[in-house]
């Protein structure tokens, strides 16, 4: 019957004391709680023995053997429960690391996939081909822009933070290349204010919103306005993109929203509390309002 108490202590230690004190990095509180448990346990064990049939035995001997017996049992229980608990804690932590690693890899892969948009590459090459045929003065510049774009996609995407100028440069080149091929009914307004010097940003955190506007906001028929507004006040970046939506003349393929969702995940992972993202999607307009605190 006396073994009920050490078993009770085992579970108390496993489920309450270790998570509450030991894992919360309060070793002194943990030690005190252990000592307190030990004292209570010894008292209980002695009372129990005293009340049981061994009363005579108890009286005939000093309380020492019971103390040693209880203490020994206590220490064994303490270390077994501590060991098992820590083992399961380590396993949990390891699983968590593997999970995070996997998630990171997945999101990285999918945003890489989203980046090298073959359609855009071919469209741009096609524009450049046309420019070359008519021997336009813009040809050389367009090749340079595409080359800068590809450099950013291929080399800088692996770096956690790049100078803000690079991200802005990509957006500007991207817009310029689109301007080459779009007809006049698609108006693109790009505004930038502030000084990007010395600021860093996670690469391709703004680009998906710009790509999205061009993907869904260009038309052969309707008048379209794509507005991209970037302003910097010290290290606070305000980024606004909006486009009116072309009327649906025929069934368009529905948007999957994967690109935006991925970017939201990345913002959450990288910028945590240092960002706000508002997206409004109505029948005729799509608007993104992102504020980032840069480092």
């Amino acid at each position: 019957m006396a073994s009920v108490f050490p078993i009770g202590f085992y579970y108390l230690n496993y489920y309450k004391l270790i998570p509450l004190f030991y894992l919360q990095k309060k070793p002194i509180t943990y030690l005190l709680s252990i000592l307190l448990s030990l004292t209570i346990l010894i008292i209980i064990a002695n009372i129990f023995t005293y009340l049981s049939d061994n009363r005579r035995l108890y009286e005939s001997r000093p309380p020492f053997p019971f103390l040693i017996h209880s203490l020994l049992l206590f220490v064994v229980v303490l270390f077994v429960s501590l060991g098992l608990r820590m083992n399961s804690e380590w396993k949990k932590a390891e699983e968590e690391i593997i999970k995070i690693e996997k998630e990171k890899l997945n999101s990285e892969l999918s945003y890489l996939k989203a980046q090298i948009n073959p359609h855009f590459l071919f469209n741009s090459l096609n524009s450049i081909y046309s420019l070359a045929i008519i021997k336009s003065d813009q040809t050389a510049e367009a090749v340079m822009k595409l080359s800068n774009l590809m450099r950013y996609v291929i080399l800088d995407v692996h770096i956690p933070f790049v100078p803000l100028e690079k991200e802005l440069g990509y957006i500007i080149n991207f817009i310029e290349l689109h301007r080459l091929r779009l007809a006049d009914n698609n108006q693109i307004n790009f505004r930038f204010s502030g000084n990007p010097e010395g600021l860093l940003i996670s690469p391709f955190i703004l680009v998906p919103f710009v790509e999205n506007a061009f993907k869904h906001g260009t038309s052969a028929i309707d008048s379209i306005n794509i507005n991209i507004d970037i302003s910097l006040v010290k290290n606070r970046l305000d980024f606004k993109v909006d486009n009116n939506k072309p009327s649906k003349y025929f069934e368009n393929q529905p948007s999957t929203g994967v690109g935006i969702e991925n970017t939201r995940k990345r913002l959450e992972m990288i910028y945590k509390k240092n960002y706000t993202l508002k997206i409004s999607d109505t029948d005729n307009k799509f608007e993104v309002d992102l504020t980032l605190l840069l480092t």
Binding site: L182, A220, F250
Partner: protein, 61 residues
């Protein structure tokens, strides 16, 4: 004489097409369109012999 029009959402491509069309004897490129609805309206008034079309365009394909 073959009368034709061209429709493409990219003005640059239309420029190229115009260039090629002008090299072909007996072919007259009457007009080019980036807006397919305008092209449709034009066709209703002036039927042509040949249409040069983009295979994929926003809004309409």
């Amino acid at each position: 004489m073959i009368n034709c029009i061209a429709v493409d959402d990219e003005p640059l491509s239309l420029q190229i097409i115009s260039g090629y069309a002008s090299q072909i004897q007996g072919m007259v490129l009457l007009k080019t369109f980036t807006n397919p609805l305008k092209a449709q309206n034009y066709l209703k008034k002036f039927p042509v012999d040949l249409l040069l079309l983009d295979i994929q365009m926003p809004d309409v394909s």
